[in-house]
Amino acid sequence: MLKKRFVIRIVLIVLLVLIGMFLYINGKEHKVIIDNKEIIVNDDHYKATADYKVWLDNKEISLIEKDKRIVAMITGSNHKIVIESIDNQELKGEKYERIFKLKNNESALINIPAMINFLDDWIIKTS
């Protein structure tokens, strides 16, 4: 009887710790900097060619103009970024989508020219 009670208590504590960890990971806020600026990779220059509208985790963030940078805050570990080029305030239908993960203390720097050119350095994660 005592042993059963002890086991139940331990299971309950473990369960609460797991719920706590889940809430911590799920609610953790991360800073994401999105650059629409020229990037140089292996001496190749990738220039910003258009303005883009940005969605992070299906939430519209803002418009990002050429050679500009925006900062957004996101929560959780799994994320999706969608960008669509815009011209004269009209969406052009040219959409790019990427999925990324962030660890607990990580922030991210995303470069749009690198992203649309499918470069490996499209995202830099920093602690």
Binding site: G20, G27, E29
Partner: protein, 377 residues
């Protein structure tokens, strides 16, 4: 000459009702006068009242269980509020936002509140019969410890890295913490508007769940034990109930509920005064419960709702009524603080008077019985 005493049991039922419910009746009259004087529209009053009901009810409900266990109004709910605030400091430091942040704060604060409640319960067991004043003093004492921990321990011993909440010297928490990351996340979780009045559905669901819990808890073995302890400690002890343990448990449950209540309260406000958000929690919650017609020995869910509506309607209208009457809104502010303490003092005096009358009646009954035996012999 012996003073003539009025029996509360043989009294005219109407007079008995008036005495029992004198506080809510007086409040209802004051509110009825102040409401038109304030010049506020019904829409404004209802909107403000809706916010205040959702913000305060959970804290007031936390007071019911110790009353059931005969420990009076638990001024120690301040300890629960402190536990809630400590957890809010942590989630702000860790940048945990949204509903996850709120739930994590509740989770972290639970063991802290249990420890605080256990500590308070043990002290209150050593001060039987004087639980309320002891609870009041315990909350003052714990406030000192809380301040030492938050002002010197956090950032020094307890790691805190967020510069937004740390004092410029590198340790200690700032006077005010911005809770924007969890501001009204519970209130706005299920959005609903009736006309122009927003209804915080999720917060009300929390309150309803707590009401159901209290009703259910009264029917459990522990709930029944608490009622027995509340009626008579000696009778409870002879029935095999561990009186001390039951009393401690009632305080622990109340402290944990108060800590959730404080988190709900602060998520609604959106900012936290680190060093004094918790100070008035006990007084205002107890005053609201007493305004609802509760007494030191008897309180139920209905008292909570009547109390929160009457007390906070007065809070809403009194500054404006004060301004209209005297030309100064500040007078209304003073008035509501004066009323909060006044209501507690009045209820305690009424309780003491009734106790004295009942004791006198008991003594008379015994005397009459003895006299009748002597006459027979």
């Amino acid at each position: 000459m012996m003073k003539k005493q009025v029996s509360t049991t043989t009294m005219n039922p109407f007079v008995y009702f008036l005495i029992n419910y004198s506080v809510p009746i007086i409040f209802a009259i004051v509110v009825a006068f102040a409401l038109p004087l304030s010049g506020l529209s019904v829409n404004n009053v209802v909107r403000e009242l809706m916010i205040r009901i959702s913000r305060n009810t959970f804290l007031i409900l936390a007071l019911l269980i110790p009353v059931m266990a005969g420990m009076g109004m638990n001024f120690g709910i301040v300890l629960g509020a402190m536990a809630g605030e400590i957890s809010l400091i942590f989630i702000t430091d860790w940048h945990i936002v949204g509903i996850s942040g709120l739930l994590l704060a509740m989770l972290i604060s639970t063991p802290i509140a249990i420890i605080f409640g256990y500590f308070a319960g043990i002290i209150l067991n050593r001060a039987k019969g004087r639980e309320m004043v002891t609870g009041f003093m315990v909350s003052f004492f714990m406030n000192g410890i809380y301040q030492v921990i938050v002002l010197y321990g956090m950032g020094n011993i307890i790691p805190i890295s967020n510069p937004d909440i740390l004092l410029p010297r590198g340790y200690g928490i700032r006077n005010a913490i911005n809770l924007l990351s969890i501001r009204q996340v519970l209130d706005n979780l299920i959005p609903l508007k009736v006309g122009t009045i927003p209804i915080p559905v999720a917060t009300f669901l929390f309150i309803i769940v707590l009401c159901i819990f209290i009703v259910w808890f009264k029917k459990t073995k522990l709930g029944q034990d608490m009622r027995t302890v509340g009626q008579d400690n000696e009778v409870a002890r002879t029935s095999g109930i561990d009186v001390e343990k039951t009393r401690v448990l009632s305080i622990v449950i109340s402290t944990v509920l108060a800590c959730y209540g404080q988190i709900i309260f602060l998520q609604n406000i959106g900012t936290m005064n680190t060093y004094n958000s918790h100070e008035q929690v006990g007084v205002f919650a107890i005053a609201a419960l007493l305004v609802g017609g509760a007494s030191v020995t008897k309180a139920n869910i209905t008292n909570v709702f009547i109390g929160v509506i009457l007390f906070h309607t007065m809070f809403v209208v009194s500054p404006r009524a004060g301004k209209e009457l005297m030309g100064q809104a500040q007078l209304g502010e003073y008035f509501r603080v004066f009323v909060s303490y006044g209501v507690i003092a009045f209820s305690l005096a009424l309780y003491a008077w009734r106790k004295r009358v009942e004791r006198e009646n008991e003594r008379r009954k015994v005397m009459d019985y003895r006299k009748s035996i002597l006459v027979k012999n």
